[in-house]
Amino acid sequence: MIAQLIDGPLWYFSFTIFVLGVLWRIFMILRAGVKKDLAVPREGGGAGALRAIFSRFVPERTVRRHGKVQLVAGYMFHLGLFALLFLARPHVDFFAERMTGFGWWSMPYWAFIVAAEVAFAGLIMLWLYRLLNPVTRLLSSADDYIGTVLVFLVMLSGCLALAQSVEALRLLHLFLAELLLIYFPFSNLMHAFTFAFSRGYTGATMGRKGIRA
């Protein structure tokens, strides 16, 4: 009964909340509007926006020198997570079966283990940094910790499910992932989508001024 609920209706419900919630948040951003810039530009804003969306993946020198932990841990976590999410065999099968209708290359088991270790190490480092650094401790809200804990539990249950091949663990993993999907649009996990907007807006403004940002 619970298994059917998690595998069926709850999945569709959580996924719907996720999609509609994300779209709603993006709509709320766009609805706020931006006034047209009436100053004569030096360069086009579009090129600046596009440049900033990609250039900010490369850290500025100040970040390289003073933000090494966040930088290294941040890249480890995100790259590991993306590898797990999109290239783990069970996920590829899940996407193919329920969403796309087709599959793609998936990682061998050893690569899965490496990706998981990298993602866990990154996430734990970021978590510890958030707790121990006075700046991040001051800035952090319950949302930051809830998001971190949820992602951690989803990753942990997923790894256990794959390693142990126990159905109950698979269901636990799916259930936690569904909770994460429901929580996502209400949290700053939204940065996964909105970073393109924030970088784009800044890049366009700077670009019009002829500044590479």
């Binding site: 919630g21 709603w24 948040r25 709320m28 951003i29 766009l30 609805r31 706020a32 509007g33 931006v34 006034k35 810039d37 009436l38 100053a39 004569v40 900033a52 969306i53 900010r56 850290p59 500025e60 020198r61 100040t62 970040v63 020198r65 003073h66 933000g67 966040q70 941040g74 958030r130 650094n133 006075p134 700046v135 991040t136 401790r137 001051l138 800035l139 952090s140 809200s141 930051d144 649009p185 209400f186 949290s187 700053n188 939204m190 940065h191 909105t194 970073f195 907007f197 924030s198 970088r199 784009g200 807006y201 800044t202 890049g203 403004t205 700077m206 001024k209 002829g210 500044i211 940002a213």
Partner: protein
């Protein structure tokens, strides 16, 4: 809750556009912006983390623009903004932010935190939570025409001195001149040699220029305090004067803040494009040099470094002309470690220099610039902003440094070939 405070909160709400909404949505509280802010790096106080200065605005955004915030507000789980929030944050919003824009360059999700703070100031100033120094400067700018209280009479007296010292005639309100020149009050009062320099350079370059008796001030305290109505009124004076004189260009003085105000913010404040172009003095000097209309005789052999005014480079987009000009008149130009768009602020921008309450904090923040200058091993700092120059001179004196500060335009004028027969030295 006072009526004025409610107006301030309403104004703050109006400032939340798609940019700000996306910025708050994207912030993951990584704290990297702290490392870019000299108020944090020089004090170690986490409250000076740039994004933390936006907590009041974030609270309002959450309540007005997110589902969870709206629900929390409805069920009494999140309190509305209180006067105490503004009182507690006023120092962070005004004293510990020079609007230098360095934080906006390092944010991994691309948040323009400086833009956010300038918008937050709109709400704070409307609510009456702004430093007395800035309130006074804005009042003087509106009533007298200058934040320092400089009157036309003072400007004309300065111009008379300029004419006497240079032997050149400076035209006022000349219809049909190509360029209308603006100044900052600080240039008129503290650095009239800047005016002498441009008079010499423009004469040598055959530039047709004039000064308006109706609008000589380029700075805009309305922008610094965060009152766009006042800012628009100040910009309008310049626009009206320039259009009445029929000039093709308005020249922004060295002052960085003046440049971003009139060049980038101005048209948006008055709601229409200008009928003339705005050019920074350094851009114009570079053009004159490129066109061969001004030439230089020799170079200083004194090693020099350059302090980049934030609003000219990082927020204004004028980065290379000053370097090319400086290399034209200096044999040994040494860049600071962080220069150009990643320079460190002098500590007095964004209205901080007009805010006496912030003096002690500003002096602490100057330590960054002191170290930067000392690392170059150079005793002469060239800059291109009267406000930066004042802040540098203050800091140098307070730290008992053996450093001289000079303005770039003056340095250019010192090596200018003024006589057609005088040939540039072969180098």
């Amino acid at each position: 809750m006072s009526e004025q405070f409610e107006q301030g909160v309403a104004e703050l709400g109006k400032q939340i556009d798609a940019r700000i909404s996306s910025y708050f949505s994207s912030c993951v509280h990584c704290g990297l912006c702290a490392e870019a802010c000299l108020f944090y790096t020089e004090t170690g106080d986490p409250r000076y983390t740039p994004i933390y200065k936006l907590e009041p605005m974030k609270k309002l955004w959450r309540q007005e623009h997110t589902i969870s915030g709206k629900l929390a507000k409805t069920f009494g789980l999140s309190k509305p903004l209180q006067e105490q929030d503004f009182a507690d944050w006023e120092e962070l919003v005004y004293d510990s932010c020079t609007l230098c824009g360095r934080c906006s360059m390092v944010c991994p999700v691309g948040n323009d935190i400086t833009y956010m703070i300038s918008k937050e100031r709109e709400g704070f100033s409307r609510a009456g939570y702004a430093p007395e120094g800035l309130k006074g400067a804005t009042q003087r700018a509106l009533e007298i025409g200058s934040p320092m209280g400089v009157t036309l009479k003072t400007v004309l007296a300065t111009l008379a001195h300029v004419e006497k010292n240079t032997g050149l005639s400076v035209s006022v309100d000349q219809q049909g001149a190509d360029y209308m020149t603006l100044f900052s009050s600080m240039e008129v009062v503290n650095f009239p040699e800047y005016i002498e320099s441009i008079a010499r350079i423009f004469d040598a370059g055959g530039v047709s220029w004039t000064i308006s008796s109706k609008a000589f001030e380029a700075t805009n305290s309305g922008i610094q305090i965060g009152n766009s109505d006042n800012a628009a009124e100040i910009v309008n004076r310049v626009v009206t004067a320039a259009e009445e004189l029929g000039v093709k260009y308005v020249i922004s003085p060295e002052c960085g803040h003046a440049y971003t105000s009139i060049r980038w913010a101005g048209p948006n404040l008055i709601g229409r494009p200008y009928t003339f172009k705005v050019i920074h003095i350094l851009e114009l000097l570079e053009q004159l040099k490129q066109q061969g209309r001004i030439k230089f005789n020799g170079k200083t052999d004194e090693p020099v470094t350059f302090h980049d005014p934030c609003q000219i480079v990082r927020r204004g987009g004028v980065v290379e002309p000053q370097r090319d000009l400086l290399n034209s008149v200096a044999e040994n130009f040494v860049e600071m470690t962080d220069h150009g768009v990643m320079n460190w602020c002098c500590g007095g921008g964004g209205g901080v220099s007009a805010n006496e309450r912030a003096d002690e904090l500003r002096a602490k923040a100057f330590d960054r610039k002191r170290r930067q200058i000392e690392e170059t091993g150079v005793d002469t700092v060239v800059t291109a902003c009267a406000n930066c120059r004042m802040m540098l001179e203050d800091g140098i004196e307070e730290n008992e440094m053996e450093t001289t500060v000079i303005g770039l335009t003056e340095l250019i004028a010192d090596y200018l070939v003024t006589d057609a027969k005088e040939q540039p030295e072969v180098r």
